[in-house]
Amino acid sequence: MRKRKHLLVGVVMLLAVAALALATSVSAKQASVFKVAWIYPGPHNDGGWSQAHDAGRLYVQKMLGSKVQTTYKENVFSNASVPQIVAGLVRDGYQMIFATSFGMLELGVNGQLWKKYPKVLFEQATGQQIEKNQSEYFGAAEDTIYLSGMAAGAATKKGVVGYVAAFGIPEVVRHTNAFTLGVQATHPGAKVKLLWTNSWFSPPKETSAAQNLVAAGADVLGQNVDSPAAGVYAEKHGIPWAGYDSNAQKFAPKQWLTASVYNWGQYYLSRVKAAMAGTWKPGFYYGSIKDGFTALAPYGPSVSAKTKALIAAKEKAIEAGTFNEFCGPVYDQAGKLRIPKGKCLDPRTPSGINALYSMQWLVKGVIGSVSHVPPPG
């Protein structure tokens, strides 16, 4: 009996030593590998927003190889769960966190996370809260969305384009306005019918939205939501479709027009590299066509050479800085002059970016209204 007890103590001690050795070897390994995490609002393979970010993450992993360890948390529909997720990531030793949706690191408790974890580097997409260890990043998708709107405007015969949109927040309102201005550039006087799903990612709601927009007279569809459901509907019913944030042509091979897409990879790589080198600084990054941050997806078969040439000319002008879709005169739905002639909302100026980031009015030609409710969070 006594012998047994000794044996037991011996085993326990051996285990403890083994555990200690394991723990030290793990922490030694951690020191050499830089750990970066991403938080996605939808599934990592949603065929839209989250997937585009995940492509960026994979790019970082590919370029830096074994020097970084990356992970992601997906399906974070509610920003209320972000503090818990961040706590878990920090506990697991993640040193840098990219939160890819508005409100994940802004407003309420979420806006205090940078303070709670001062050693972690935070980056949030589409927001505006900059702290000593928190950056903000996004891009002028309104430019490329304007171009995709031009393709939609050229495709509409009746002059009515349906637009499936997520939430009535400034980002989506800005995109809707840019899309409408693009539609009107190739089809003067065209209307854009707006339908809110109040969800970034909901295939059934997006299908229903597409169906009802078509029933209400739209003969072309565009969207600012993340799933390709509207495209699947459009393909089946012969409705040209402009996507958003990913190349989703495979879902609508015939009806696909184009889409504004993001290339997050370059930005992610430069930020992770800077963080590893210790040169990371907080800031506000607003990518553009020029940077290669935003781009237009390949055209579908129905886009004519003439339309392509028109779009290419505008794209060049945007790149050169000689064109901005938010240059006056721009009127709102009520006919009120919102941007006077000669004035532009230039994202390179603080007043321009503030106007773009707080846009709560819709341009003339949009049918629908904007509700002033922030996304869940």
């Binding site: 109040n198 295939p203 059934p204 699947v232 495979k250």
Partner: protein, 329 residues
Amino acid sequence: MINSSLMVLVLSQAVTYGTPILFAALGELLAERSGVLNLGVEGMMLVGAVMGFWAVQRAPGPGSLVLVLAVLTAAFAGALMGLIHAFLVVTLRASQIVSGLALTIFAGGLGLSSYLGNDLGLADVPPKYQLGQINVFGLKNVSVVGPILFNQSALVYASWALTIAVALYLSRTRFGLNVRAVGESPGAADAMGINIAVYRYAHVLGGGALAGVGGACFSLSITPGWTAGDSLVGGAGWIAIALVIFSFWRAELCLVGAYLFGALSGGLPAAIQAHNYKAIPTFFKTPEFLNALPYLTTVIVLVIIASGWAKRRLGAPAALGIPYVREER
């Protein structure tokens, strides 16, 4: 063109979006009539949706055959999920509420269904085949009833046949009578020589199969394709469970209720926004209000049902939720 009017549009979408709810509710009805409450409907639907889409993408053969196979696969997958619940609550006599909730969490958007879909490579893939609308007897363009009744997917027509079958089964057949006996008074049924466990297993499995088909309505027909998470089914399973109560455990009332909720969760919010009627006050057109409608209606119907009049005629199976133990009779 009355067929492009708001009313016709909303009603035709009520049928489309009500069908998955109807399948799931009929399944839940069968299980509850045998005395087993199954809160795992949402999870079973999600598994049905993913496995149905898997079959559509991978099964060989002509399109129509593949689609039939896909519906059967979804039913089989749903039944397997039901088997888990049946084993836990019938054989092991575990709490039905806990087991059902566990099933939804296990099979749900963050669990098995997403794992299966990702593992089988079903995300971000366009559908190979889909169940489209059928122009029944060429009546698609008949005023009002054409778009509502004669231009739906095959699953809609199957659900009508199923509603009649379930109603007749429960009211007119010996087996149906036995099921009701098992749900009302398993002790008496046992004394009559009815095998309680067999009946409960059969109806929980059958209910699971129908929930699986309900899930497949989404992935094969309404929004063909599969996406991870739970937004594909989006709460239809929970509505189905509530619907069984609203319909006083009767199949024909399930049909009516399913279409009511189909309208509220599917067509109505989008249709009202898309048409932007001036006559409707702005508040009632906001997406927030419209999206809350199914839940508001649930509250209102529950209040009505909880009133004395309804309670007297409610007809909940007396032994619902109670495990049957012969010795404790």
